[in-house]
């Protein structure tokens, strides 16, 4: 009894000191872990940063060594009708930014941009060892050039058209099939569903040659049909995602609608869909991004028709032609990824939900 009492009186002090210790430790722990994640993220996204910066640089800045990471141009000053480059010149009293006026091997003459009329300043040392003074100067010419060279409006139209039509087909077909799996008592349904899911493991290569040959026979090569028609027949991933979501919607509401004489389409439209829109949006944006990303199918089916190709194929072709002009290919890369990234930033909530439904409920 006595020991218990002692414990009780001790307990608050212990938790207080523990809380105090934690209170002191917590911010620094938060700082360390957040710092680690920031560094990781910086590495993870550094390619994006690099191409963004490079896409605003002039070709000469990309090619030259020792230039800043950001788009910049060397600062110059005009003096007596001629341009002189500005260097960072070290003196005993500190570094001064001066324009190189007369180059010499052992000594050079500089002028002060702030005071051009003053006599030239003589500096002893090799001017080649000096750092230039830079100023932030992004250029848009790469984008202007790529816009035309890549035929960007054309590619963008093709990509958006393919993505929109394909998304439309994907939504209609998958909603219907998922509804069939989620809401109807069908003998043997479990096996049928297992067959659907099993197709996730099928390698595409095993269907490619006959399909390709068949498309050649019926004249679909060089058209959008091989890319669009299959989207109208649903696919395992989206069926799974939508079915999982439909199953969480209480059945009582369907039954009530049924009693009121609603048919299956009516129930789907007025009961299921209004409650399933997060999953529907997820499927839609996943397909949209997939279509934007699709490379191989458009490559093989549209190789003869560059005017019908989407942007990923166009970008790869552009890179094989202009590979030696990184500032152009990087501007092209930015133009390719910018729209999916913008869509993602606005729709990220639905992306996350969709991933969780397919990935975790398995």
């Amino acid at each position: 009894m006595a020991t218990k009492q002692a414990n009780e009186t001790l307990a608050p002090t212990r938790t207080f000191s523990a809380r105090l210790a934690r209170g002191l430790r917590e911010p620094s722990r938060s700082f360390i872990i957040t710092f680690i994640v920031v560094v990781l993220l910086a590495f993870f996204l550094s390619p994006l940063l690099r191409i963004t910066l490079n896409s605003f640089k002039t070709p000469s800045q990309v090619a030259e060594l020792g230039t800043p990471l950001y788009p910049a141009k060397a600062r110059v000053v005009e003096y007596q009708g001629k341009e002189y480059e500005i260097y960072k010149v070290p003196f005993a009293e500190g570094v001064r930014e001066l324009a190189l006026y007369k180059k010499g091997r052992a000594t050079s003459e500089f002028i002060d941009p702030a005071n051009l009329d003053a006599p030239p300043i003589v500096w002893t040392g090799a001017w080649r060892s000096l750092d230039r003074a830079w100023e932030f100067a992004p250029t848009l010419t790469n984008y202007q050039q790529v816009w035309d060279l890549l035929d960007y409006p054309r590619l963008m139209f093709n990509t958006i058209a393919l993505a929109v039509i394909g998304t439309f087909g994907t939504l209609i077909s998958n909603i219907l099939v998922a509804y069939g799996f989620a809401r109807f008592r069908i003998p043997g349904k479990q096996l049928l569903f297992t067959i659907v899911i099993a197709t996730v493991f099928l390698p595409e290569a095993v269907t490619l040659i006959p399909t390709y040959t068949f498309y050649v026979k019926i004249g679909w090569i060089g058209t959008w049909l091989p890319l669009l028609v299959p989207a109208f027949f649903a696919n395992a991933f989206d069926i799974f995602l939508l079915r999982q979501f439909f199953l969480t919607i209480p059945r009582e509401m369907d039954e009530a609608a049924k009693v009121d004489g609603a048919g299956p389409f009516r129930i789907l439209r007025s009961v299921i869909l209004p409650q399933a829109w997060p999953a529907v949006i997820a499927v839609g944006i996943f397909h949209f991004v997939y279509a934007w990303n699709d490379y191989f199918a458009p490559l093989i089916y549209l190789s003869t028709r560059p005017d019908l190709q989407p942007i990923s194929v166009g970008l790869a072709r552009f890179n094989s032609i202009y590979g030696n002009k990184p500032e152009l290919t990087q501007a092209g890369t930015i133009l390719t990824l910018i729209i999916p990234v913008i869509i993602f930033i606005f729709m990220q909530k639905f992306f996350m939900q969709g991933v969780v439904i397919t990935g975790v409920d398995k």
Binding site: F44, R50, L191, V206, T207, I300, T333, P340, F351, G359
Partner: protein, 315 residues
């Protein structure tokens, strides 16, 4: 499984039940029609091709060659190399593909981390970037002379930084790095399932005096095993079919020195460059069977290491 027989019971159902079943079948038939047209029939046609001599490059009378194409694979050294390339890549890509998203998820799940939502979105972001764009973005970073990675290594005093994509050995880690932008989805899945581990289990582990590693090994990993299993299966299926990235990086040439001539790339070359349809078809079926065998093995093995909460564990 009697399920096929169950389908045959539909005509004998009571009218209301029969109507429901037929309506349901009408809805799901959309998928099955597509499956027959775009998957099953072409698959069987591929099988039929593989026993024939269809070859667009040389016109020969069509005939049945039995297992000739399959025998040819056994003596084809380029094919053996391609399989070796795929395996070498898989040995790096699979562990990295499992561990990196897992580690990122564990970090993002840390209770001391600030701005969690922001980081979660940022690690997912590159997943939506078209992979062709991703390749060119990382390709610049990995550039041996001008890339930031080698410039950083040189600044740190590394004498001969790797040639990355130009080096027959470093090309595999480079391709794995190029693939890192696809981890977003796995991170979110791991994160969601980490958050789904009941806190009672962690409390119990703490009471038992378990440290970080013991908790990870005995609580977190077993509870996460279904998701790890799911990632592993999809990862293996994906790695067997890997070829798009090397196709874009090397224009399908397999450089440096054939180091990126993956099994699938070789197969597509057999179709589209050599136009040897029957031989390509045989390769496709071998690939299919390989994937099937590995997947079946994984599902069989899962009962020994995958823990499904709520089910009794056998053995």
């Amino acid at each position: 499984m009697n399920s096929f027989k169950e389908l045959l019971t539909i005509p004998r159902l009571k009218p209301i039940a029969r109507r429901e079943a037929l309506q349901g079948l009408a809805f799901i038939s959309i998928w099955f029609i597509g499956f027959f047209i775009f998957t099953l029939i072409p698959m069987l046609a591929t099988l039929a091709f593989s026993f024939s001599n269809i070859n667009l490059a040389q016109e020969e009378a069509l005939r049945f060659v039995g297992f000739g194409n399959y025998q040819k694979m056994l003596s084809d050294s380029s094919l053996r190399n391609a399989l070796g390339v795929t395996l070498k890549y898989a040995l790096i890509a699979l562990p990295v593909g499992l561990a990196v998203p897992f580690a990122v998820a564990v970090l993002l799940n840390n209770k001391h981390l600030r701005a969690k939502g922001f980081f979660r979105v940022m690690f997912y972001l590159p997943y939506v970037i078209p992979f062709v764009a991703g390749i060119f973005a990382w390709g610049g970073l990995l550039n041996p002379e001008q890339g930031w990675i080698n410039q950083t290594l040189e600044a740190l005093g590394v004498q001969n930084p790797p040639g990355w994509l130009n080096d027959p050995l470093w090309v595999y880690p480079s391709l794995v790095i190029l693939g890192l932008w696809g981890i977003g989805s796995a991170v979110i899945i791991y994160l969601a399932s980490l958050q789904g581990v009941p806190t009672e289990l962690y409390d119990a582990a703490k009471v038992d005096g378990a440290g970080w590693w013991a908790t990870m090994r005995n609580v977190t990993l077993p509870m996460m095993s279904p998701v790890i299993f799911y990632s592993l299966v999809l990862g293996i299926v994906g790695v067997f079919q890997y070829f798009l990235v090397p196709l874009v990086v090397t224009d399908g040439t397999g450089r440096p020195g054939g180091a990126t001539m993956f099994f699938n790339l070789y197969m597509y070359k057999t179709f589209f460059t050599f136009q040897n349809m029957s031989y390509g078809a045989a390769q496709a079926w071998v690939l299919f069977i390989l994937i099937l065998v590995v997947t079946i093995f994984l599902f069989w093995s899962s009962k020994y290491w995958v823990y499904y909460a709520g089910e009794t564990r056998e053995g």
